[in-house]
Symmetry: C3
Subunit: 421 residues, 3 copies
């Protein structure tokens, strides 16, 4: 191999690993965001869910998911990729096998690393929405199915070269494939679970249930913002020539700009609607901006990216308010941020990318939404029948930390005021 090709291969591989590590860091972001937005008595449990779901995603995607999502030449057809072995199973040296498949322009293991953290991200979206009343092990069982099968199937349809890809559906880094997937799976769970006790009063009143730790929630948002440079920036897949390096730079700039637009727009919207500058709306605005730009962070100008993010930021405030009207109880706003704004992101591709058609985007949107929602609903229903998905009313009152984990998150901070809120 030519020396220059070796260096490019090395640079692209290193770029993939660095951006993959940033995406892995998003797992910490979700954990902190959710830990900050739930009550003290359910904090240990949500932390446990977050670290466990990441671990499960890594294992299931290695065993099954990656083979489904990227079957390579082995795909059966554009709907059904077939079932393939676990990572590296064809040969005792996974590395050699992977490196030999397809064009060699970066280590396929670095690709796996990047992909596996995406899979975990989709599942992370779910944990926040079902917080404070779902059984821990039912949740983990769902994680096994989502990361091993539901996510990889639709991932194959788009990124693995399946039918959505073939009909021109565009989704650069996964407003649909990752975030809408997470949102749709969460919605199915929330509808079956029902709202937390006390969230909606008998006369239709909506009771706010404030999160216990705002610095944690803010930290989580900043972590996610940082991680998103890997999420979107790594999705360009190559950096080793002038055109690609420019593209990656554009993606970084636009990702940042969209998040900034989301913060400002959500803050102003919240100020106008509530008369206060709601921090949680600012945080959700940042995330909404990021989700909105994820489907197309390359073709907009930085100014358009800011606007796409800002619309996401406005949308998320209205969506969160609307969810409560429909009594869809989502403690952290995950369905709005990732599901609703994910759909906006898919549509926004048409604003700047001349290759996008509204038809293809809507087809992709509807396909992912229906597939993930229905498949998830079936899994949640089975889990409900087999082991139950909701804790008892008493356990909910006590808090999941004690009943599921046997460990308080803040044993010294929550005196009389903390118990049983």
């Amino acid at each position: 191999m030519e020396a220059i090709t070796e260096v490019k291969y090395a640079l692209d591989t290193f770029y993939f690993l660095v951006t993959g590590a940033l995406v892995m860091w998003m797992a910490a972001g979700f954990a902190m965001l959710e830990a900050g937005l739930v009550r003290a008595k359910n904090t240990t449990e949500i932390l446990t869910k977050n670290i466990a779901l990441y671990a499960i995603a890594c294992i299931m995607y290695m065993l099954i998911g990656y083979g489904i999502m990227y079957p390579g030449d082995a795909a059966v057809n554009s709907w059904w990729p077939g079932l393939h072995g676990i990572l590296g199973s064809d040969d005792n040296t996974a590395q050699a096998v992977l490196a030999s498949g397809g064009d060699i322009y970066y280590s396929n293991l670095s690709d796996f690393f990047f992909q596996v953290v995406f899979c975990a991200t989709a599942m992370s979206v779910v944990s926040g929405a079902v917080a404070e009343r779902m059984k821990l092990w039912a949740f983990l069982a769902f994680a096994v199915v989502l990361t091993g099968f539901i996510y990889p199937m639709q991932g194959y349809w788009k990124w693995g070269g399946g039918f959505l890809d073939q009909l021109g559906f565009l989704d650069f880094a996964g407003s649909g494939v990752v975030h809408l997937t997470g949102g749709a799976a969460a919605l199915a769970g929330v509808l079956l679970l029902g709202a937390r006790k006390g969230k909606y009063g008998p006369k239709g009143e909506i009771n706010p249930i404030p999160g216990a730790n705002m610095p944690m929630a803010t930290l989580g948002t900043f972590i996610l913002w940082l991680g998103w440079f890997g999420f979107n920036g790594g999705s360009e897949l190559i950096v080793s020539n002038v055109a690609e390096a420019n593209a990656v730079a554009m993606v970084f700039v636009n990702t940042n700009a969209a998040a900034a637009g989301g913060v400002v727009a959500a803050m102003i919207t919240a100020r106008l609607m509530f008369g206060k500058t709601d921090l949680t709306m600012a945080l959700n605005g940042a995330l909404a901006g990021l989700v909105a730009i994820t489907a197309e962070p390359l073709t907009p100008t930085p100014l358009l990216a800011t606007i796409v993010g800002a619309i996401g930021g406005i949308l998320v405030v209205f969506s969160i308010v609307s969810m409560d009207k429909f009594k869809i109880d989502d403690p952290v706003g995950a369905i709005s941020v990732h599901g609703v704004v994910g759909m906006w992101g898919l549509i926004a591709v048409t604003l700047s990318n001349p290759d996008a058609t509204l038809t293809a985007q809507l087809t992709g949107l509807v396909t992912i939404l229906l597939w993930v929602f229905i498949a998830s609903l079936i899994v949640w229903l089975i889990l409900k029948a087999v082991m139950g998905i909701r804790v008892t009313e008493e356990e909910e009152y006590e808090g999941l930390d004690l009943t599921d984990c046997g460990l308080e998150a803040y044993p010294e901070f929550t005196g009389s005021k903390g118990s049983g809120i």
Copy 2:
């Protein structure tokens, strides 16, 4: 283009993006540091300020600031760069425009990304100093002006090729351009605002007002330390040959060494002065070491870098103590860390860099200090007249979280003890 040049371009661009992402991460560092050092009742508000100022900086610098700071050939003269369009406005593809300007050795968008996070850093310095009594929206209005105009103007004078650059003023990564700027803007605000109620007693006593969350403050410091590898390391601008790669490595080593020196020196100083090993002084020592080495992290040996940082660490302890004597109430010590030690950093350049002259360094120091202080003072005065900059005494007592944000940061932790401290 030659293949090797393409790879170098790609490597330098990627290096810029990675270091830029690290600097972005500093926004989280400031947020956590300040959230840890204020009282519980003002925590949500300071978090809101931090995420909002970062977003505002990104938008204003894109719209106006970058054009002022880096006008390229279009500059009117060495004092006044002229006004230029928003990023990418000359053409619908920002990327092409930017790439064509000047030597093509890395993506100009990656340069913008790196620069925009610097601009936000300068503004982050301000938020801590004015904490616990400034109106949220007055602060945000100031952020618009600082990031859109005040910061870029003096940035042009040095890094944009203006008169300070021409007369030999040296400031590698911004002890002056970034940190002194933040410190001077903060000082102007603090002088107008006055001290927090109860900080200085009627008989001249100084009452400590401890921060609510030391792990958060420590986390913020570690985040800043990590981010500083990007801040200083990326300021070498190129990494793609042996000499530059060695230089970047030197910058990393010296940045780390100076922070370490700052910690140890500040700890020992505090131990000798107070009889206790004050954690907040250790944290400020780390930051002081980092600020001190920022103007010249390349030419010192690691041992000298440690000493430069250590002097910064000693200086910061005395400065914080002195500020209180003058009743300059800076809840997090930002004016000392970034302003006072920033000045030391500019002077310390002469210790190791043979190209530096004390005259040039002092000229730069005084120019930046006066420009930023006076311009900021005018803006603060206008804001004071138009909308007021200080909350009412009652709001200050209640805490800004409830009055400005309508949301407590730790609703379950602060029982009787937390309210109204």
Copy 3:
């Protein structure tokens, strides 16, 4: 020099700096993990210890340690490297000196940066185990000796080319050199210190002392997980050709897989043993998986890496339970995670690396364990005689934050419930 060689040099240097920055980030991880797992009244002190030990490690390793560990051609013999000057002392430009020593394939200063953060990591292991009853300055004095002498000596024996390296002992990234070292030094300290008051009752009962802040502990674990990509990934030392890039990718994938295996295995083990899903065991499981794969993250398949990590995760639960039976009081489980599982990691090398022999691995294991344990014990004994290592019973009851640091970590959160637990 050929242009391509320059770019490779630059890429390898940059890779070293990025992975080194990730390892530096582990210092924050240890600080947060330990701050989360101790009681509120000892939190400021453990934070102070963590930032101070990192600073001390950076200074001592620059002054003495690096010269001992990597004497180059100047080594006296395979047991005793001789004493060498401080970093860069042979010449006023450290950079030139370092770059000229040995093969020039990346900046030696980037190597120093990577190595110094490893040295700090070893010391970080100790702070958790001796938490809540050791005198701050006795601890810092120990840090001086460990990072300046004890760690570098055994580091020389393996990575510096000493006798352990010559007899075929394999330790890729330091299950032994770093983690077992930390564990053995901690064990010596804990044995001399004794258990915390109230941990073990008069009738042999073991009283759990829960940590004050679970989100902090979880954050620390995620930080360490992220940092470990640098720890193991950077230990390949080169990335700039196809074979090395593939190797680095393999290391990233296996590091992640082992951590995931550790989480799941520890969670299930804890669930079976205690009937609850203990978050702290899940966190320790992640860390155990990481420690276990550190001695050989390159040769296993991802599936085997998962299993190696899972065995680490099971082992850590049993080890933590066993330690309490022997009344070895380790508040954060550091001796189990780093010491016991570090030994497993050294042995697990034989599962996949054909070059490994059980004899060589056991020789290395026993050498490191004995050297570090005995040398540390002597230092602890001297410190005990000279200045005392344990705080008084009253100070322990009051908490080290007030007695050593004069500053509460959470002054507003711990009301009646928090004082004196």
